[in-house]
C-alpha cells in the first residue's frame, strides 16, 4: 500500500509544470483564471502547443499517434494544466469520439480523423441529446434514411456544447424502427459544413452562449461516415461513455477553484475587521469541501489503480462523476457566497477579451456568480447524477 506518486511521476509533474509555465500564453491564462470568455482560437492555440509534445491525447495507442500513457500520468498532466490556468482539452474529440473510431471505425476513418483531432484541425461536438431524449437517450428520433451511398438525416439535436465552433459532430441517429429502441440506432460522423445543418444558440442562465440546438434538414451523409455496423450504434455509444473516466471527477479544476475560493475569502472583509476566511462559520464550510476534495483525490487514484489491474473500466467512474460534480458545485456556491452583496453584479461586457474598461466589485469577483449558475449543469450533463445513482445501484449494488 502506497498512496504516493512514484519519483518518476513526480519528475514528470515538474516537467509538465515547467512546460506549461513556459508555453501557456499569458493572455489565455489570464482569461481562464479571470473567468473571461474563451474563444475558439484560445482552445485551439493550446491544443497546438500541447501537440508539440504529443500531449493532446497521450494515452492513445502508439499506432494512432499516442504514447500509451498510464492514467496516472494523464491525471498529472490534466491537473498541472488546470492549476496553471490552461484551457481544458475538450473531451469530445480525444476522449469521446476517438476511442470509438479506434475501436469500431475502419482504417480509412482512423487515418483521416485521428491525426486531425491531435493537431486541432477538427473540433468535435456531440450529437446525442434531443428535445425528447435526455436521460432516456434511446428514445431519440433524429432519423437517417439510406439512399444508395448516403444517409439523409432529418431531426434535431440539442444542448450541443460549443457546436458554434465545431467542424464535425458525432451523432446517434435512428436507422430502424424495428425491435427495441436501442436496436435501431447508428453512429454517424457528420461534417458541420454539410448543407442543411443549422446551429441555433441556446442562451444559458448565466447569459452566456455555450450550448446550441443543431438542426438537420435533409443533410446528406456518406455511408462511409458511419461507424461500424448499421443499427449497432448503441453499443458504440455505451463504449464511449465508459471512456469518460477520471476527467469527470474534475480534480484539477476543483483544486484550482478551491485555491481561488481561499484567495477570495482571504481578500474579502467580513464587516467585523477580519477577512471572511477567519469567520469560523465560513471557514468551516471551506474546510469541509477541502476535505471532500482530499477524499475524492484518493478515490481517483484508487480507481486508476483498479483499472490498471483489470484493464477494463468499471462502474466506479459513476462514483467519481457524482461526487466530483457535487464538489464543483459546492466550491462554486461558496465562492459566490463569499462575494456577499457583490454576488449580484452581472457584467457580461467585462467578460469579453476585447474589454479594456474596468469591472466593478471585488477584483477576484468577476464571473464567479455566473459560474455558480453555469455549474448547475455539471450534475446534469454526461449522465445526470440521478442516472449515475441508477448505474451505481444496478452495477455496483446489483439492485
Amino acid at each position: 500500500m502506497d498512496l504516493n506518486f512514484s519519483a518518476e511521476e513526480e519528475r514528470f509533474r515538474s516537467e509538465v509544470r515547467a512546460f506549461v509555465a513556459a508555453k501557456l500564453p499569458a493572455a489565455i491564462r489570464d482569461k481562464v483564471l479571470g473567468h473571461k470568455r474563451l474563444e475558439r482560437e484560445d482552445f485551439l492555440t493550446w491544443v497546438r502547443i500541447l501537440n508539440t509534445r504529443g500531449w493532446v491525447a497521450p494515452s492513445w495507442p502508439r499506432r494512432f499517434g499516442g504514447q500509451e500513457w498510464d492514467p496516472a500520468r494523464q491525471l498529472i498532466l490534466e491537473e498541472e494544466c488546470a492549476l496553471a490556468g490552461a484551457p481544458p482539452v475538450l473531451s469530445f474529440g480525444p476522449r469521446m469520439v476517438a476511442p470509438v473510431i479506434m475501436t469500431f471505425g475502419n482504417q480509412a476513418q482512423q487515418e483521416y480523423f485521428l491525426p486531425r483531432i491531435l493537431n486541432g484541425e477538427h473540433w468535435w461536438c456531440q450529437g446525442y441529446s434531443e428535445p425528447g431524449a435526455g436521460s432516456d437517450l434511446a428514445s431519440l428520433k433524429t432519423r437517417a434514411e439510406r439512399r444508395g451511398d448516403t444517409y439523409v438525416v432529418n431531426g434535431q439535436k440539442t444542448w450541443t456544447t460549443l457546436a458554434q465552433y465545431a467542424d464535425w459532430i458525432f451523432c446517434l441517429v435512428r436507422t430502424s424502427q424495428e425491435g427495441r429502441p436501442q436496436a435501431g440506432i447508428s453512429f454517424l460522423l457528420i461534417d458541420m459544413k454539410s448543407p442543411g445543418i443549422t446551429v441555433r444558440p441556446i442562451v444559458m442562465l448565466d447569459g452566456e452562449h455555450e450550448i446550441n440546438e443543431v438542426w438537420f434538414d435533409n443533410v446528406e451523409v456518406p455511408v462511409a461516415n458511419r461507424i461500424g455496423e448499421e443499427n449497432a450504434g448503441w453499443t458504440y455509444a455505451k463504449f464511449l461513455l465508459g471512456h469518460e473516466r477520471v476527467s469527470n471527477a474534475a480534480l484539477g479544476p476543483s483544486k484550482r477553484a478551491l485555491r481561488e475560493l481561499k484567495a477570495i475569502a482571504a481578500a474579502t472583509p467580513s464587516g467585523g475587521g477580519r477577512p471572511l476566511i477567519e469567520v469560523p462559520r465560513f471557514r468551516d464550510r471551506i474546510a469541509e469541501v477541502e476535505i471532500d476534495l482530499m477524499a475524492l483525490e484518493v478515490m481517483v487514484l484508487r480507481v486508476i489503480a483498479m483499472d490498471r489491474e483489470r484493464h477494463t473500466p468499471g462502474p466506479e467512474a459513476s462514483l467519481l462523476k457524482l461526487q466530483g460534480s457535487q464538489i464543483q458545485q459546492a466550491i462554486s456556491a461558496l465562492a459566490m457566497e463569499a462575494l456577499g452583496p457583490y454576488a449580484a453584479l452581472h457584467q457580461p461586457l467585462a467578460l469579453s477579451a476585447g474589454w479594456t474598461g474596468s469591472s466593478a466589485g471585488p477584483p477576484l469577483g468577476l464571473g464567479i456568480t455566473g459560474r455558480y449558475f453555469n455549474y448547475r449543469k455539471v450534475s446534469i450533463y454526461a449522465g445526470s447524477n440521478e442516472i449515475q445513482r441508477n448505474i451505481i445501484a444496478r452495477h455496483m449494488l446489483g439492485l
Binding site: A72, R274, E278, V298, A305
Partner: protein, 404 residues
C-alpha cells in the same frame, strides 16, 4: 502508487475474518456486553494466538512488528465483526506509547501485551477537556523520589479492566505520562457500560503515589506522545468504521433484496436505490480517507499528519452517520429493534464519532491548520496587516502546540 495489500496482510485478514465469523456471533457479542467487562478472556487468548496483539510491538520487544497498514487490516475486520474487546487501546495506542518512549523496564510489559497477559489503557481525557489534548488539569507533584497524582480521568476505554494505565498529568514542565498499575491505592476506577457494549471507566486520583520510574519518557514530554497516540487511535477508528460500514451496507443490501412490499423486493424502488448509492459513495470516500490517515501516520511533517488525521476523522464520522442512519431507515421497524445486527452497527458507528474527537473538533483542527498554512503562503501578497497576522488561530488549535 499501490493499493494492494501484501500476502501477509491478506493472510491476517482472512484468518481473522474466518475466526470472527465462526466465533464472534451476535449472540456471543451480546453475552460479552452483558458481562460488563468488555473483554472475553477466551477471545483475547485467540487474538494472541492469531498474533494480532503483538502487531504494534517490534520483535525485539516481544511482538511481531507490523506497520500502519497491518493495523488497518486488523481494525477493518474488528469493525466488520463489531468486536468490543479493547484491542485498539491496548495493542496499538498504549503499546505504541511504550514502544516509543517507555524505559526498558516499562517495555517489559509489551511481551505480556503480545501474549495477552497484560492490558493497557490510556487515561488522558478529563471531564472538562472535550478532546483537547492539552487540556490536562490532573496534577503530578514531586514528593521526594515519588510523584503524587490528583485529578479525574474520563471515559477511559477499558479503564477498569486494564492491569496498567498510562496516565497523563501536568507537572512543572508540562504534561507528563506515568505508567501505573491498575490496582493502586488512592485510585478509584468506576466501570461503566457504553452504548456499544464496551466498558469505559471514570477514574479518580486522590493522592496516588507512584515511584519516579513510573514516568514515561521525559518530564513534560507527554503531549507529543499523546498526540501521536491519538493519531494512531484515529487511524484505527477510521479503519474500524470502514469495516463496520462495509458490513452494514452488505446487510442492508441483502435486506432490500429479500424484503417484499407491494409484491416486489423493496430494492426495486428507486427511492431506496438512490439512498443506497449514496451510502456506497460515502463508504468508499471513508475508505479512501482511512487509507490516507494510515499512510500519513509515518510522515515526518507534523502539520501534514494533523491535516490528514483530522480530515479523515471528520469525513469518516460524516460517512458513518449517513450510512448508519440510512441503514436503520431502510430496515424500517427492524432497524430500530435490538434483534438485528443493524442497530448494533449503527450504535458503534455513532460512538466512533464521539471517540478521539468528533466531527466539529476535527473540522476545527483541520481548518485552523489550513488557515495557518494559507496565511503563511499569502501573507506577502494578499493582505499583511498586523491584525491579520495576530489572528492566525494558534490559540484555537491545541494540537498545534504540543509540548507547551
Amino acid at each position: 502508487m499501490d493499493f494492494t495489500f501484501t500476502e501477509e496482510q491478506v493472510q491476517i485478514r482472512d484468518s481473522l475474518r474466518r475466526f470472527l465469523t465462526e466465533t464472534y456471533t451476535l449472540d456471543r457479542r451480546r453475552a460479552i456486553a452483558r458481562a460488563g467487562t468488555g473483554c472475553d478472556p477466551e477471545i483475547w487468548r485467540q487474538f494472541a494466538e492469531l498474533g494480532i496483539l503483538g502487531l504494534g510491538i517490534p520483535q525485539p520487544l516481544g511482538g511481531i512488528g507490523g506497520d500502519a497498514f497491518d493495523a488497518l487490516v486488523v481494525m477493518e475486520e474488528l469493525g466488520r465483526a463489531l468486536v468490543i474487546e479493547p484491542y485498539l487501546s491496548t495493542a496499538l495506542v498504549c503499546a505504541g506509547i511504550l514502544v516509543r518512549a517507555g524505559s526498558p523496564a516499562q517495555q517489559q510489559l509489551l511481551a505480556g501485551v503480545a501474549t495477552g497477559e497484560n492490558r493497557l489503557a490510556l487515561a488522558h481525557d478529563e471531564p472538562d477537556s472535550r478532546w483537547r489534548l492539552d487540556a490536562v488539569a490532573t496534577r503530578a507533584t514531586r514528593k521526594g523520589a515519588s510523584w503524587v497524582l490528583n485529578g479525574r480521568k474520563a471515559m477511559v476505554p477499558d479503564g477498569a479492566g486494564a492491569d496498567h494505565l498510562v496516565i497523563s498529568a501536568r507537572t512543572e514542565s508540562g504534561v507528563s505520562l506515568f505508567l501505573v498499575p491498575g490496582a493502586s491505592e488512592h485510585m478509584t476506577r468506576t466501570a461503566l457500560m457504553s452504548h456499544d457494549g464496551s466498558s469505559v471507566a471514570e477514574i479518580t486520583l486522590e493522592g496516588l503515589r507512584v515511584p519516579a520510574d513510573a514516568l514515561i519518557g521525559v518530564e513534560g514530554g507527554g503531549l507529543p506522545l499523546v498526540e501521536a497516540a491519538s493519531h494512531v487511535a484515529v487511524a484505527g477508528l477510521c479503519s474500524e468504521a470502514v469495516g463496520a460500514m462495509d458490513a452494514l451496507l452488505a446487510l442492508t443490501l441483502a435486506y432490500v433484496k429479500t424484503r417484499r412490499q407491494f409484491g416486489v423486493p423493496i430494492g426495486s424502488f428507486q427511492a431506496l436505490q438512490h439512498r443506497m448509492a449514496d451510502m456506497l459513495l460515502h463508504a468508499e470516500l471513508a475508505r479512501s480517507m482511512s487509507y490516507l490517515a494510515s499512510a500519513k501516520l509515518g510522515v515526518r511533517s507534523v502539520g501534514e499528519r494533523r491535516r490528514a488525521i483530522s480530515a479523515a476523522k471528520f469525513l469518516v464520522g460524516r460517512s458513518a452517520r449517513l450510512v448508519g442512519q440510512e441503514a436503520v431507515q431502510i430496515h424500517g421497524g427492524m432497524g430500530v429493534s435490538e434483534e438485528l445486527a443493524t442497530s448494533h452497527y449503527f450504535k458503534r458507528l455513532t460512538l466512533i464519532n464521539a471517540s478521539f474527537g468528533d466531527m466539529d473538533h476535527h473540522l476545527e483542527q483541520f481548518a485552523a491548520a489550513t488557515t495557518a498554512e494559507l496565511h503563511s503562503a499569502a501573507l506577502t501578497t494578499i493582505h499583511s496587516t498586523p491584525a491579520t497576522r495576530r489572528s492566525v488561530p494558534d490559540s484555537r488549535s491545541p494540537q498545534a502546540r504540543p509540548g507547551r
